[in-house]
Assembly symmetry: C2
Amino acid sequence: MGNIRATFRSQCDNGNAMDARIPSSNTESPWLPFESRRRARDEKREAVLRAAVQLFLEQGYHRATLNDVAKRLNITKPALYNYFRGKDEILFECWSIGHELVDECIAETSASAGSGLDKLRKLTIRYAELMTTDYGKSLVRFDLRDLSEHNRKTVQTAKRRIDRAFRDYIASGIADGSVKPCDPKLAAFAIAGSLNWIGHWFQPGGELTGRAVAEEFAIRLTDGIAKTTTRETTTRKAAVPAAEKAGKPPRKGNASREDGSEHHTRAAAGAAGQSKRSRGRLR
Amino acid sequence: MGNIRATFRSQCDNGNAMDARIPSSNTESPWLPFESRRRARDEKREAVLRAAVQLFLEQGYHRATLNDVAKRLNITKPALYNYFRGKDEILFECWSIGHELVDECIAETSASAGSGLDKLRKLTIRYAELMTTDYGKSLVRFDLRDLSEHNRKTVQTAKRRIDRAFRDYIASGIADGSVKPCDPKLAAFAIAGSLNWIGHWFQPGGELTGRAVAEEFAIRLTDGIAKTTTRETTTRKAAVPAAEKAGKPPRKGNASREDGSEHHTRAAAGAAGQSKRSRGRLR
DNA sequence: ACTATTTATTACCCGTGGGTAATATACGGG
DNA sequence: CCCGTATATTACCCACGGGTAATAAATAGT
């Protein structure tokens, strides 16, 4: 039955020519079928996450099995446990990467100059574009309840932080006169909801590029509350910065290390990278 | 272990006083603990659906088990199979009810007079309010991929119909001058996305009523594309019409009735009720 | 009352899939 | 060259939950 020895290699024929790191479906496996398996640990870890997030999005978290994930990487299920404590931790890490990317967007936006409306637009366009990527979709397509208690709290906190950013920009926009008076809470819900929904319908192969959707939405969503209706060409900048490697293995270990919560820095490229990633669960 | 004989009755102490039918979390079971179990078949069927949709929303489809559903109704799992062919069919029926409700909204809106913008606003407010109900949430919180091939197609078709309604109203609004020129497709995505997201965050117990959210969203979302910015008090009408009973049992039967697709009419109260519900799957 | 039909119950099956134990192979350093 | 560590494999466990078979209780009809 098993014995999937060589005979693979399958979809690993795109040679190289990739420098963009995180967001972009980077489908190649560091595990070449049966020989030459060395490579930095973190690259493998990230490869697992890339495969996992793709599968979770394609099939849904519950339908996608760890065997599926492993198969896509030319390895077997137990090998995954060298890098993660369990399925839900993989899910959490996908979520974490998404949140780091959002935090970068927020940090950059907050650091920039401009009115409240300017910032709202800037965040909107960045957030929208993020929603067209795999890790961005993670933020809205996965179910909080699949996480452990501890990790769920972490994610909830992060989500609140995002919501806060939208509200703050709107509120400051009202204060500086760039935004019409309105309830920041509901307005934020309306805008963020529309953006989040992108993660449900956007398909990378479609007629629309992520950038195009982002720009259109930025105009459409902010026009309703802007004091002066603008149809400007929005700011143009680089897509998303790369992520540099760091951190160390989770190690399950037979010596019961209870509640080991360690950190894994994934520095931002341009802005202040205070993005951490906590690991470990109690079980 | 088992032997859950009497000793129940639990949460069945709200006496009566219920007349509102479908949308409104109507938590009471026609199966009183162990005596007097008669009642029309369809009422039981609907009670199953009410319990199921609540549980699916609370816990998520995959975490909620049929035992959970049954327990909430004071019955046991196999009893559910008197009314449904399987778990995924229950899910589908929840979806179907939601779609019938949407179809009613669309039908009423289309039948009404007014500009494209008027219709867009009318649909928006109704749709938003629907998203605050259990069956409305079904439309956006459940996963298509949990359905059988056949049922999935049905739902997809229905979803396209909804999308079409939004686009058509926007397009006709552009034609009659009530809406600013824009891409109907993207504008519809933006509005519907925002509305759909309500189904993810709205909690009935919160500070906001469904009606309040609906009215605020109707203004907020259409202001961006309206030619004349209005802050009108939106139309006031009755919530949602009742549903009358009809149809007949699915019956699994040991005589293999392959591919039995029957219909179950659920007439609308005010508008033309062409809402059908197809049943059966191939397996 | 007896019987047929519907509707529920108890007891069970079994596929699936997350997770683990034991083990084999590669790698790196002294 | 050999040993320790990291990393992978094979083979297994077992809980969970959807679904079914056999059966019992209730209901309706005559």
